[in-house]
Symmetry: D2
Subunit: 283 residues, 4 copies
């Protein structure tokens, strides 16, 4: 297929590369042009505007926040002016997803997985929107991930599921952070507790990946930076507010993210939540 | 081996039966005698005092709380007066575990798993204490569970790990409860969210088991009753207090347990935490 | 002075009336025109647009939220096109206050006090902005309140102080709600606890006013409706987020407001926070 | 009257001195004897056991915790063996108060006020128990405080009210701490915010006293040490647990006390809660 790709960050770059490797005809656009060089060297075309990447069958967007997606889609020479089906992978607000769907052909398809999973074609895609449109994008999804979940016909439902997933990751990090700090102050090494947990009923990637980061103090370099994590948790909070859902664990997580950023800067992984918990205990 | 078993509740009864099935010579004691009838019919002897169950190689205790364990161990005709190695499986305070170890030969060996896992010989045993004593108990552990974790030579460390594990379960329940409530109020069925989660990076028994309870509203009958869960979380809080560890997710969980018991009584599962979250959102 | 007044709700109406009583020449505007009738009968002129109320010396705005203030100020025929000094009394975001100051002559002057205090000329005015402009508005402040606090030359500082004050009110309500519920479940009447508190070191209006509401279950009619309170707490949360300030009591309050609105509707007083606390305890 | 006084710490010493000044015949006892020297020099007798201070009309106890009160009352040569009416001023658990009442003539009479208020005869006494017994103690209360509140005939009710009061103080400190940190990071000095608050609807000693400590960073020397504050909040939490009352603001406060002690040691004032809030914001 002729595929456009807008947003060549850590995740977007890896995904775009896999589309290219799978034989798709790729046109890329990124706000800061240098990001595209490697992909162009590998065979991608480079568009001069977002619209220039939206002339084929599909155009993916993978950007940092609502404002960026809105700008490349609805702005001058934006994606909405192209004929391609817009496949939004960014973690954006459900509200924006629904607005994008009113501006043109659009499905939401956020993914689960960190950069290493993206490179290894092991992402999970959560798709929502018109079923025929999802069918159209399916070959591209095959090239970038291991499985597609379809969660509804309203695009924003995929974004809501993605937000719930990211919140659940943070819920695990918060619980692990508190448990490991307590264990360590009581004489049990973090690694020992982690082995018991992942050796029993907690044997899932989310515990392995984040448990390893926490036990090994591997908060840098960030796989997913704390300000991005905070942005996502703020989107969750916005949904919780609009739908009147009290979420006290979310509140604890957001406060720990704020503290983590205030004390460790913007370049640390969002699992800094666990680091803050340890620090607050004087550990 | 000659094994005594004190405490024939839902968990203890299932474990004792497996010891009997494995060919061990079993003597049981329970405060309310009727609980022993079925096991006696299957070949167990019945002691008249806790000490009467402590005359062989090992004596297990599986009781509801510190007070019960203290009574059967250190009270008149208590286990401490017998010659058997005391293997404590109850979820008790680390403090009591260390006191039991001063009163006689004692190791802590709490387990992970609900009644169904106990029946299926799928428990996980977390053992701490003198390594030679753990070796001595190993054949019995083989008869009741699938794996033993050794976490240290001070018995109380196993109890601390157990408490951290139970807290982490509740951390997952809290996160799932908040996420599922938000998803449902936003138009995504709880079951759909659960399928995405367990189909991706959350594919572990703790998510399957508790996700199924929450999505299916299966809070009764209790696999583990809310007041017992609250007792455990209070033990965690006591440790957190003594060791100066702020634990905000623990606080949210305890408040939800209190609310759950206040509104739904003492007979509901400890995952009522998730039910309360939904109710507070008017869901 | 020639004074315009935009926004004739419960608070705005009472304030406008006091300006009229003090002899000022008043021109009013309200989105729904009926609200102005009583004041017009008492001598006020009625403008056809917000700009029509901004042709004199001062123009006050007292509206529900950022969007409303932005619309009447920066929209077509807005206040910013008039020559009057704009005195913003609404509880709006500090960000908007600074933008209003860029659009024309503007000071922020939010007030503390509920409708009864407004009627009794007992409001407290918190003013920030150009000192000469505050001097200009001083005679009008005298007509509506008992005291003016000057907190800085950047208008938004007054809004920040106002938000901090409203948050502190809610902090008191949260604490009173938890304390009274505990006391009552333990056998001490809410009123008895309140008498001890207000008779000792808690002898301030905030404890008398909200203690009386809580002890007397006087959550309706709302003096300040829960959705408005939630709006304010969300503005506080936005500031806390932008400035990286973890605020766990704020989180508890927002969750209780969400629950209160979810269960009791939009017409209840923001002190519903205390009602929710009692309900969660099964009281 | 012939009055005994047991417990000559910062508070107890000041109260005992006022009894002596008022002309009462005083016999004192303290675990570490040196504490009594000054009072003996001023005319007090010194007993050799707690019982030795319990031979007159009244015997006051003012001690750090349940264990200390239990030891001097129910232990060998304890107060319960004397004929004096026991007037318990310590902040103890309601449970212990009721047990003391079963061991002899006993009323609870905890006080509100810090050491400076004790010296100035400005304490508030909260009394509960047999009305005739409270009448008997009334002249002594007149010598030490400005007002007596009678809250019921079961002694423990006074202790519950005292705990609720201390919790409400901490609720104010938590709210002030969060508000002042937000204000300061936004450009408003803590002192400025405090002046607005105490100049409006927050004009009560609790805001003046704690606001001054927080704004002036006067956390040392402690008027009431953080570990004692934590002990009290733990007693509140025990009541909340037993009576099934979710208290999220209490949870935030306890976590901040734990963090404060973990990072600043045991000698800091319990208002360290506000210091921790500022630190967590990187302020």
């Amino acid at each position: 297929m002729k595929i456009g790709f807008v947003g060549l960050g850590q995740m977007g770059g890896a995904i775009a590369r896999n589309l290219l490797k799978a034989g798709h005809e790729l046109t890329v656009w990124n706000r800061s042009a240098g990001r595209a060089d490697a992909l162009v060297a590998e065979g991608a075309a480079q568009a001069r505007t977002p619209a220039g990447a939206a002339g084929g069958d599909l155009v993916f967007t993978m950007l940092a926040n609502d404002a960026a997606v809105e700008a490349v889609t609805l702005g001058t020479d934006g994606i909405a002016s192209g004929r391609a089906l817009h496949v939004g992978m960014s973690t954006i607000s459900p509200d924006l997803a629904d607005r994008l769907a009113q501006a043109g052909r659009y499905i939401s398809a956020p993914v689960f997985g960190r950069p290493a999973a993206a490179e290894a074609v092991k992402l999970f895609v959560v798709a929502a929107g018109d079923p025929a449109a999802i069918d159209q994008a399916a070959p591209a999804f095959d090239a970038i991930g291991q499985r597609v979940f379809r969660v509804g016909e309203r695009p924003s439902l995929a974004n809501l599921v993605k937000l719930c997933g990211n919140f659940t990751i943070m819920g695990v990090v918060e619980a692990l952070g508190e448990a490991m700090t307590l264990a360590e102050k009581g004489g049990v090494a973090k690694q020992t507790l982690l082995e018991v947990l992942t050796g029993t009923i907690f044997d899932a990637p989310v515990f392995h990946v984040y448990g390893d980061i926490i036990a090994g103090d591997k908060f840098r370099p960030a796989g997913f930076a704390a300000p991005l994590g905070l942005k996502d948790m703020n989107l969750v909070a916005q949904e919780a507010n609009d739908r009147r859902v009290p979420m006290p664990a979310l509140a604890a997580i957001r406060n720990h993210l704020l503290q983590g950023i205030a004390k460790h800067g913007e370049e640390i992984d969002w699992s800094v939540v666990a680091k803050v918990i340890a620090e607050n205990a004087g550990a």
